[in-house]
């Protein structure tokens, strides 16, 4: 039950906040209360291992199944704890930002509603045991991220970044759904527990693994889908601190962890470590070469999630346990650093490393706190980060020398960019204008909480190891990790890493310009450029197709009629031998029918040659009325009734509309068209051909020998449902779905018409 409450509470909170968004001073504290209670519920759920199960869509076998297992609890606690911290931080920060932008204060409600919604989505992803449910929460996080990144609606950059995030991760989530459906179809269950790796055929397993890995790589911003993350930095800083360090990007690797049995022993699974190393390289280059503070952190996030993917891909008992530990340590350190950036830009209004420096004298407390976080990111001893690096080395050593070397270099790179970030900000000469006297305590306190967590984690390695081992083994495969301070090979490697990092940092003047050049080149040729080009191309294609269709009424009609006609013609040719064209022998009771048909023909010809709209309308309505009379003669009263009524309304409306047109309009059009007489001839030929084909098809259909008609069954069933009028029975019951569809079309076209005409009236 607590698992359920933990998921529903933030979702409900989002609704409450959206409802009382107008009381903007109340909203931040309300959001904090909701987040805190969610955190408490998550703790209880994690402690009791609470499960919740409810049939949801029984016909699909989808259940509302939530369970707080070790892995899920870890992510849920992480998301709730960091979420609470950041919601506390956002109160003063967002109010300040809205004030700076001169935006209405009620926007606060939108921000916190989406933050809580996102928190609910995260807890849902963590606890979901049903694949469909997992997918829904996965997408909920994506939708929230769209609105949170584009929170500043006036900024085009933010909107474009949000769209890019949505498209890239959205393609991933469609792949995820496809993977889920393929595997669940093969196994016959949507429960994650029942999808054991042995139960899948080879091909299914490979394709599922590829789809899931693809989805996770897009979500966790891994190469070659990493490009959305640096752009997503257009989001408000608390959003980046939450989504782009601890939560949204964590969902990707969480899905990998959750579904690890799928990846075991597959091509996609074995590719992961190499893609991860590539991500570490690319992310490090971004982090080393960028000037904007948030870009540095974004690059670092790409690289750090590369480590996690590496750990998962490298696998083994240690890897399985190390990945959750890494997730935890990184989330704490990185969100604290993002919040630090927020405080600095709050106080100084600057967001570039080159325009900042020597802040330690102005903000000593912030410097100390962020030193703890930076130390944790760089893997220094006495912080939680030390153990994440130790775990990394242990896993790499267990695999191969190449991986070990890569791990050492990666640790060195991390050290280097973290050093560049922290030293550049806090040490050295004072650069730029003097900061405001103090940043509000409300902004410092959350950072302090995270920094303390980073330190405390270092004191209790055994607890961390137990948590990580339990989380790693919750897929049912063995996972084990020992964490301790000891003089062993990982320590030697760590020291090598620090040395490499220090060297890289010390020689920064020689490589920094080259890094910047590389970043510029990458932005022109990299995957981001491919994305832009694909988007532009698709837009152009869509524009062209749209233009082709809507250029004029004739084109639009042709776009539908020509393919349909071609299909019918092909079908007629294919069955040419069996085409039967029979005319039934004449009977006296056919006479009224024939007269009716003759009248229809005369009216139709009239409509063709009419020179004024009035004659045209009357000729067309004569066609309609005569057809209705023919129906009546064929003893189809319902059709006749509808025919007469529709024709009446149509005629009145047409006459009403045409009274506003000048009298000669139709003739003028004719004259204009007359200039292109070859075109006119072509239209006539097309019309005759189409008419002939339609005639042959209709005649042959009517000449086919009459089989048992469905009408008898309709009549019999109509009686059983107390609707003797079988037309009504068909409309409301047998083909009720059609009726609902047509009604919907009618409703939509009314709305469209209202909008079009309203626009005209405005003009």
């Amino acid at each position: 039950m607590f698992a359920f409450v933990t998921v529903v509470l933030p979702l409900a909170g989002a609704g409450v906040i959206a409802a009382c968004a107008s009381r903007h001073t109340l909203v931040p504290s309300l959001a904090l209360v909701f987040a805190l209670i969610t955190l408490c519920c998550a703790v209880v759920a994690a402690a009791t291992g609470a499960a919740f199960d409810l049939p949801w869509v029984p016909s699909w076998g989808a259940r509302l199944t939530l369970e707080a297992d070790a892995l899920g609890s870890l992510l849920a606690l992480l998301a709730a704890a960091i979420g609470t911290t950041i919601i506390a931080y956002s109160g003063p920060y967002i109010t300040h930002e809205l004030h700076e932008r001169a935006a209405p204060k009620t926007e606060v409600g939108r921000f916190f509603a989406f933050m809580l919604l996102f928190l609910g989505g995260m807890v849902g992803v963590a606890f979901a045991r049903d694949l469909i449910l997992l997918f829904l929460f996965y997408d909920l996080t994506a939708v929230c991220s769209y609105f949170l990144i584009a929170f500043d609606r006036s900024s085009g950059t933010a909107r474009r970044a949000a769209l890019m995030t949505m498209i890239v991760t959205g393609i991933g989530s469609i792949a995820l759904l496809a993977g889920f459906l393929i595997s669940s179809a093969a196994v016959g269950s949507l429960d994650i527990r029942e999808l054991t790796p042995t139960s899948l055929p080879r091909g299914v397993k490979e394709s599922t693994a590829a789809l899931i890995a693809f989805a996770a790589l897009t979500k966790s911003a891994q190469v070659p889908f990493h490009f959305w993350l640096p752009r997503a930095m257009a989001a408000p800083t608390p959003v980046s601190a939450y989504l782009h360090s601890a939560a949204l990007v964590a969902v990707g690797v969480f899905v990998l962890l959750r579904l690890e049995p799928f990846l075991d022993d597959t091509v996609a699974g074995s590719m992961l470590p190499y893609l991860a190393l590539l991500s570490i390289a690319v992310g490090s280059v971004i982090a080393l070469g960028s000037d904007q503070l948030k870009q540095i952190l974004a690059g670092s996030t790409i690289a750090q999630y590369g480590y996690v993917v590496f750990l998962i891909g490298a696998g083994g008992e240690a890897g399985r346990a190390a990945a959750p530990l890494y997730l935890l340590a990184h989330a704490i350190a990185k969100s604290a650093l993002f919040l630090t950036v927020g405080v600095i830009s709050y106080a100084t209004g600057e967001d570039r490393l080159s325009r900042l420096g020597g802040l330690i004298t102005r903000m000593p407390l912030l410097a100390m706190l962020s030193a703890a976080a930076a130390g944790a990111l760089a893997g220094l001893p006495l912080t939680i980060g030390y153990f994440k690096d130790e775990a990394l080395f242990e896993v790499a050593l267990g695999r191969s020398v190449l991986f070990s070397a890569a791990a050492v270099v990666a640790a060195g790179l991390t050290f280097a960019y973290t050093a560049r970030f922290w030293i550049g900000l806090f040490l050295g000469n004072v650069v730029g204008r003097a900061p405001l006297p103090h940043a509000p305590t409300g902004l410092i306190l959350p950072i302090a909480v995270l920094a303390i967590a980073a330190i405390v984690g270092a004191v209790v390695p055994n607890v961390l190891a137990r948590l990580a081992s339990a989380a790693g083994s919750s897929t049912g495969m063995p996972a084990h990790l020992d964490l301790r301070y000891a003089l062993d090979i990982p320590l030697v490697l760590a020291i090598c890493g620090y040395a490499i990092g220090a060297t890289i940092y010390a020689t920064r003047r020689s490589w920094l310009p080259r890094m910047k050049g590389m970043l510029r080149l990458a932005s022109r040729l990299g995957p981001a450029a491919v994305y832009e080009r694909a988007l532009t191309g698709l837009n152009r294609l869509s524009d062209r197709a749209h233009h082709l269709e809507v250029r004029d009424l004739r084109d639009r009609t042709a776009a539908i009629m020509v393919p349909a006609g071609a299909l019918v013609a092909v079908a007629s040719i294919a069955v040419f031998g069996e085409l039967r064209l029979a005319v039934s022998p004449f009977r006296p009771d056919h006479v009224p029918l024939l007269i009716g048909i003759a009248a229809v023909a005369v009216a139709a010809v009239m409509a063709l040659v009419s020179r004024t709209h009035l004659v045209l309308v009357l000729a067309l309505s004569a066609v309609g009325y005569t057809l209705a009379a023919v129906y009546a003669l064929l003893r189809a009263p319902s059709l006749a009734l509808v025919g007469v009524l529709a024709e009446t309304v149509l005629t009145i409306l047409l006459l009403r509309a045409f009274t506003t047109l000048p009298i000669g309009t139709l003739r003028e059009e004719e004259v204009e068209e007359g200039r292109a007489s070859t075109q006119k001839r072509r239209h006539r030929i097309a019309g005759v051909v189409a008419g002939l084909i339609a005639f042959i098809v209709a005649l042959s259909a009517l000449s086919a020998p009459a089989g048992p008609s469905v009408a008898d069954a309709h009549r019999r069933l109509s009686e059983r449902i107390h609707t003797p009028n079988s037309v009504s029975a068909i409309l409301t019951d047998f083909r009720g779905l059609d009726t609902a569809g047509e009604a919907t079309v009618l409703g939509i076209s009314l709305l469209a018409l209202a909008m079009l005409l309203a626009q005209r009236n405005v003009r």
Binding site: P58, S59, P637, S638, L641, V642, L645, A646, T648, V649, L650, I652, L653, L654, R656, A657, T659, T660, R720, I721, H722, T723, P724, N725, V727, S728, A729, L731, T732, D733, G736, L737, T739, A740, A743, T744, L746, G747, S749, L750, L753, A754, L757, A758, R760, N761
Partner: protein, 147 residues
């Protein structure tokens, strides 16, 4: 508009009669010829004539004319409810009540069952559509659309 007193009277009478006929079509729909669609068209035609004869101001005094869009929307909703509601209860779409073969509630000779809701919905939708279109086209009629 030719708003002589006699024409106005006739238009009002036609309106009342058309609505009476529409009502008859609606309630007899499941026993004899006629359905929600025809009823909506008849009722709409009555209003169109009223509109043509008595003009915009006079016609728009009527509640149903002012709220034609709402009526159309409500009609659409009414069509969709019997479609979707059973699915919420775990039954196939469009499961009607009372079930096949069971006796329906009877109001005189009128058999009441959920199929009627669809017809009433179609009636409201078509009527609302027709009236809305006339209203929308009124200021400067250029295009038409079939109700």
């Amino acid at each position: 508009m030719m708003s002589t007193v006699a024409a106005g009277l006739v238009a009002k009478l036609v309106l009342v009669m058309s609505w009476a006929v529409a009502f008859a079509f609606l309630v007899k729909a499941h026993a004899e010829a006629g359905d929600g669609f025809s009823a909506g068209l008849v009722a709409g035609t009555g209003l169109v004539i009223h509109y043509l004869v008595l003009g915009r101001v006079e016609t728009e005094r009527m509640f149903v004319v002012r709220n034609a869009m709402t009526i159309a929307g409500a009609g659409l909703l009414l069509v969709l409810v019997p479609l979707v509601a059973p699915a919420m209860l775990g039954m196939p779409l469009l499961t009607h009540y009372p079930a096949r073969g069971h006796p329906p509630l009877a109001l005189g000779t009128l058999a009441l069952h959920t199929r009627l809701l669809i017809d009433v919905g179609v009636f409201a939708l078509v009527f609302g559509f027709a009236v809305s279109v006339i209203r929308l086209m009124a200021p400067s009629s250029e295009r038409e659309d079939e109700p």
